[in-house]
């Protein structure tokens, strides 16, 4: 059993919990366990069977992309942190305010 830290913008998907336990010998199994119980998380965390590019997953403070990705082993008792990008600063909305639209070049500004 490992602990998974849920970021504030994903807590609604897990019933408000700050941390949830999950089972799995590696990140893939652990996320599968988590997403089986909280299906709404799937779209937030995974793209094409990979960790979504706008989310980082850390095992004991190390980015799993610098380890073995989804195959990174997770030992019982270790802490896993899910970290989506967070924009907030001066004003709400925080994470929710933007979209990647079609990148426009400086020459034909999208605004």
């Amino acid at each position: 059993m490992s602990k998974v830290r849920i970021p504030p913008m994903l807590r609604e998907e897990v019933g408000g919990a700050r941390e949830v336990p999950a089972e799995g010998a590696n990140v893939r199994e652990l996320l599968d366990d988590l997403m089986d119980r909280f299906p709404a998380l799937r779209a937030q965390l995974v793209r094409d069977d990979e960790i979504a590019p706008f989310v980082n997953v850390y095992v004991e403070g190390e980015d799993v992309r610098t380890l073995d990705g989804l195959d990174t082993p997770v030992a019982p008792g270790q802490t896993v942190i899910l970290l989506p990008a967070m924009a907030g600063g001066a004003e709400p909305p925080a994470v929710d305010g933007s979209r990647p639209a079609e990148p426009a070049s400086a020459a034909d500004s999208a605004r």
Binding site: G61, A87, A90, G97, S109
Partner: protein
């Protein structure tokens, strides 16, 4: 027990000395020694040898490592007559410095030879009083304070994060602060944006910030940019020259824009973001080997995954904590001291009062700071959720 004269004579035989002519040759050579003036401040204020740093004799042992971390570095010490430096050189030898020489005859003999001197651009009495608590810290001191007064920090946003950051940077005597903000003060801001006040409702935030900061510290020159940072104006604003950028933006388009600009201009970026009870702080400094924001998040999240706007919100004091940490990082970067948060993301959760940290690594495939960048010009991401162009 020896007398002072006897001790001086004995120590003089144990250290290396050079006369003014030889000292001048060494200083003009290819590998000049670090020149340290160990007199008192009032002696220094009347004139010094060009290129010297001041470390009064009483602080020599405690401060020398700040200016000479490598103990093999050649050091030339001088005082008024060449006596205090005998004791100073002996003491540095005991600290492990292997190449310390004393200027025989000191500053007096240097001047007698007609060699160049200059007046130090030191702090006046008012500044010495205002920044006295900085002057007492060996890592800052007079030299550091002069550096701060000469530093230029650009703040994106005079809001929740920008408020504490700007207040502390101004109080610290950062000589020039730039503030980019295109919004006006609204009642809903005052729960956390401590630069502003009820009397300023409706004023431009950048202008309100300027008034507050100049009342706090008239030494600070505040430049205001009442505009939203865009691909159109980013080059113009950066052309004013900044040592550090503090990112207190509230939206992804600005975050990515300023990241890319900071990478291309080689300016360290102090990142802070907040949501409800939680904050994140880091320093992005690829010019010194660290990762950038796009190493962490190559692209913003897609809109369909974002919670609705109404779900935002933030505990009023949270930006006070996160913005103050940003100010602390910015001051260290200006001073060139300590270890920054480059390569680390600090996470703070106010609800359970917990700091944690994750490692950030430079991504060799980063689209902006990687080995083969795929993004080479500014990208305008579109803001849509809040129904207005959100701003820093």
């Amino acid at each position: 027990m020896p007398t002072y004269r006897e001790l001086l004579a004995q120590l003089r035989s144990e250290i290396d000395e050079v006369d003014a002519v030889r000292a001048r040759e060494l200083l003009a050579g290819d590998d000049p020694p670090l020149l340290v003036d160990i007199r008192e401040f009032d002696e220094w204020a009347e004139g010094k040898i060009p290129g010297a740093v001041l470390i009064p004799r009483g602080n020599l042992e405690s401060r020398i490592e700040q200016v000479a971390p490598e103990k093999s570095r050649p050091i030339l010490l001088y005082c008024a007559q060449g006596n205090r430096t005998v004791f100073g050189a002996k003491s540095l030898g005991e600290l492990g410095y292997t190449d310390v020489i004393s200027l025989a005859g000191g500053y007096t003999d240097w001047k007698r030879n007609g060699f160049d001197t200059e007046l130090p651009g030191g702090l006046d009495d008012a500044k010495r009083a205002r920044y006295s608590r900085h002057l007492l810290i060996p890592e800052v001191g007079e030299e550091g304070q002069l550096k701060l007064l000469d530093s230029r920090v650009l703040l994106l946003g005079a809001g929740g994060l920008g408020s504490p950051a700007a207040l502390y940077l101004a109080a610290a005597g950062v000589g020039t602060l730039g503030i980019v903000d295109d919004d006006r003060v609204d009642a809903s801001n005052l729960q956390r944006q401590v630069l502003h006040s009820t009397a300023r409702l409706g004023d431009w935030k950048a202008e309100s910030a300027k008034r507050t900061l100049q009342e706090l510290n008239p030494d600070v020159d505040v430049k205001t940019y009442v505009e939203r940072l865009t691909s159109e104006n980013v080059e113009r604003i950066l052309a004013d020259g900044w040592d550090v950028i503090v990112d207190g933006a509230d939206n992804f388009p600005t975050r990515y824009l300023v990241n890319d600009a900071a990478v291309w201009h080689g300016i360290p970026l102090v990142h802070g973001s907040i949501y409800r009870f939680e904050g994140q702080i880091s320093v992005f400094d690829p010019a010194h080997g660290g990762p950038c924001y796009r190493c962490l998040f190559p692209l913003p999240p897609p809109p369909e995954l974002a919670p609705s706007c109404a779900e935002g919100g933030v505990l009023g004091v949270l930006p006070g904590i996160v913005g103050s940490l940003q100010a602390s990082e910015a001051l260290k970067l200006c001073l060139g001291i300590g270890e920054s948060l480059s390569g680390r993301l600090l996470l703070f959760d106010a609800l359970v009062t917990e700091f944690s940290e994750v490692k950030l690594r430079k991504d060799p495939d980063c689209p902006v700071c990687g080995e083969s960048p795929t993004i080479t010009e500014y990208v305008d991401y579109v803001e849509f959720c809040s129904g207005r162009a959100a701003h820093a």
